[in-house]
Amino acid sequence: MRARFIAVAWVCLAETFFDGTVAAQSQPPALEHQVKTSYLYNFMHFVVWPEDVFGEDGKFNLCVVAGNRYDSVLDALIAERVDGHEIAVHKLDDPTQTGGVRCHLLFLARDKFGLAPKTLAAEHGVLTIGDMPGFLERGGIINLVEVRGKIRFEVNQTAAQRAGLTISSKLLELSMRLL
């Protein structure tokens, strides 16, 4: 299940960069959303969460504030596992209204960014990811950037430390910019 998803993700990635015509044939969800979703999944493997942030059910709560455009690609992540934790996808309308869910990864999509507070408080054990310029300066930890048609990222190390998260050096090496 997971392998198939990854395979699909990589195929899509390849199509994005090497064969743009395929994108037209495959109807929405848009390729950009697929790539970004797979990046979200990949980040989970290069970040270490403190053990105390997981509840009794041991679920990894992926909270997405992105409207309905990511719905279909996010469904593929349901029941995937990260370090033995089963992924649970929570689609939120308001990043502050989690409805009692303890988020481990909070993705704030560009068009929902306005819902976020002016300054994102570094919450313990929450990896915040966005795809909008200035996300790091607002207190976000990872920001996805599009460079010459490729999705790259930048990391706010200080914020990560504050949140009690350890980011792999491999990830830092690939990072466009470090704060």
């Binding site: 990854i6 990589w10 390849a14 493997h45 290069f46 491999k170 990830l171 690939l174």
Partner: protein, 533 residues
């Protein structure tokens, strides 16, 4: 191969030992070097594999993020670290679909990176290249693969170094082995060469006291013991042989003297014999001469005596017939007795002449049907004595080898005697037969007449010997002597058996047919010898 083996047989023992030791050393060295080489190669391959896997794992591990976030530049940088190993020719990083994601190539080296290589647990090696493909895992899922290509030129260096070391080792070990085996071989070969030299000396000098020196209790020691034991034995045998030879020489000289003595004795005997022979011949000649003289005298006496006897008889007859009237009966009776005496004397003289004639006559032998001859004689006797009733039997088909006339004389005498001595018996029986179950045939004449006393058996055949009075049975007493003479002349024997008043049997033999030539040639001599016995 066989020529090599033959050549090896001709090499001296010491070089054989050296060659064997060096050969064994060389073979073990070759085996050891081969084993080492194999081990080195295996170790080299394992080391190469470990190195390549390690490198691939490091690169793979460092490239997970680059693969995850699609950053070929970062991956290429990671791959560039391969340049620090001069044997790595090329390296390739592939994504999960097998597409080449990033690569490294050593400058100025031709190398092909494969498309979508399959991850494998083993290195492929060959053609001077070694290749591995390693999967890249990220938290349990495969995100790509690393392919590494290395040259194995390092192996050639190792190999040449190995060969060089092996060559030096070979030279050094064989040189040392050569000197050590030269030093050691004498323990084996020296006793043997000593033995060989000793054997040569023994063959040349014939010194029985030479002995081999024993050095140890190994097989060569046993050989030396055996050799010395053999020499002891040979020495003992030689001494015995010499003693025996001395004895033999001694015996031989004894024998020689004995032989010469015996020869001398034989010569003496021969001389004596010759002397004796000569004397016998002389005596015989003398005897023969006197015998002949005597016989001639007897013959002439007998012959000459007949004339006066005839005169006496004749004139007595005339006196009786013409002057009977002038004589009285007693005178006539006396005259009659004179006549009878004269006639009897004439008979005697005739018989003596016969005997003498027989002695001088020559034998003419032939096959004689002696049975028929006997019947002939018996018939004549029957005719002369027709008043007698005599039952005569003769076995049929009896043959003898002898003088027919003389045998007739024999039968006339013997049958005549039998006729004469059975004259007092009314049932006279006379039998002539032959015994063939004896070594030689024995002829016999048997009668049931007056017989004789066996005490006088030997005197029967003497001249003028009579066992009966002439008035009882007439006869001159010369008959059996004549018979004996004839039988002895034939080389036969004659003897008699008898019981008084019951009968007598005269036996005689005649040499068989097979003995004829011997007797015919040396006739007289042979019979003489037989008689002498």
């Amino acid at each position: 191969m066989s020529t090599v083996a033959r050549a090896f047989y001709n090499i001296s023992l010491r070089w054989k030992a050296v060659i064997v030791m060096l050969g064994v050393t060389a073979i073990s060295l070759i085996l050891a070097v081969t084993g080492m080489l194999f081990h080195t190669r295996t170790a080299f391959e394992r080391q190469m594999e470990q190195k390549l896997f390690l490198l691939a794992d490091v690169i793979g591990s460092n490239s997970t993020a680059a693969l995850a976030f699609n950053d070929p530049l970062a991956a290429t940088e990671t791959l560039a670290a391969l340049s620090s190993d001069e044997h790595i020719i090329a390296g390739g990083l592939y994504d999960a679909q097998g597409n080449l994601f990033a690569q490294y190539r050593r400058p100025n080296v031709e190398a092909e990176l494969p498309n979508a290589p399959r991850a494998d647990q083993q290195m492929t090696i060959g053609g001077g290249r070694a290749e591995i493909t390693r999967a890249i895992d990220l938290k349990g899922r495969t995100v790509g693969a690393v392919h590494l290509l290395a040259d194995t030129s390092e192996w050639n260096d190792i190999l040449w170094r190995f060969v060089a070391i092996a060559g030096i080792l070979f030279v050094v070990v064989l040189t040392i082995g050569f000197f050590v085996s030269i030093a050691l071989q004498r323990f084996v070969t020296e006793p043997v060469t000593d033995l060989v030299q000793l054997m040569r000396r023994i063959a040349l000098e014939h010194d029985p006291s030479l002995r081999a020196v024993k050095r140890g209790n190994d097989e060569l020691g046993v050989l030396v013991d055996g050799f010395n034991g053999m020499l002891d034995e040979i020495g003992k045998r030689r001494a015995e042989l010499e003693r025996a030879r001395d004895q033999l020489r001694h015996h031989l000289s004894d024998l020689n003297s004995e032989v010469t003595e015996r020869k001398r004795a034989e010569q003496q005997i021969r001389d004596l014999n010759e002397d004796l022979d000569r004397r016998v011949k002389e005596r015989t000649a003398q005897l023969e001469a006197s015998n002949a003289e005597l016989e001639a005298f007897a013959y002439s006496v007998s012959h000459d005596l007949r004339a006066p006897l005839r005169g006496i008889d004749g004139f007595s007859g005339i006196l009786l017939s013409e002057h009977a009237a002038s004589l009285n009966p007693s005178g006539q009776a006396l005259l009659q007795r004179v006549r009878q005496a004269a006639q009897r004397m004439a008979e005697l003289i005739d018989d003596l002449l016969n005997l003498s004639r027989i002695t001088r006559s020559q034998l003419t032998r032939q096959d004689v049907d002696i049975g028929a001859l006997a019947i002939e004689v018996a018939d004549e006797l029957k005719n002369q004595n027709q008043n007698r009733n005599v039952q005569f039997t003769a076995a049929p088909d009896m043959h003898a080898w002898g003088d027919r006339n003389l045998l007739r004389v024999v039968l006339e005498n013997l049958l005549g005697n039998a006729w004469k001595f059975t004259s007092k018996r009314p049932d006279a029986r006379i039998e002539f037969g032959m015994k063939t179950d004896e070594p030689e045939p024995i002829y016999y004449v048997r009668d049931n007449g007056a017989g004789f006393d066996m005490a006088y058996a030997r005197q029967l055949f003497n001249v003028f010997q009579r066992l009966h009075d002439v008035t009882e049975f007439p006869g001159t007493g010369i008959g059996l002597a004549t018979v004996q003479r004839i039988i002895k002349k034939h080389g036969g024997r004659i003897w008699a058996q008898g019981v008084v008043a019951e009968g007598a049997t005269i036996y005689f033999t005649l040499p068989r047919l097979g003995e004829q030539t011997a007797t015919a040639d040396s006739g007289a001599n042979y019979s003489d010898r037989r008689t002498a016995r």
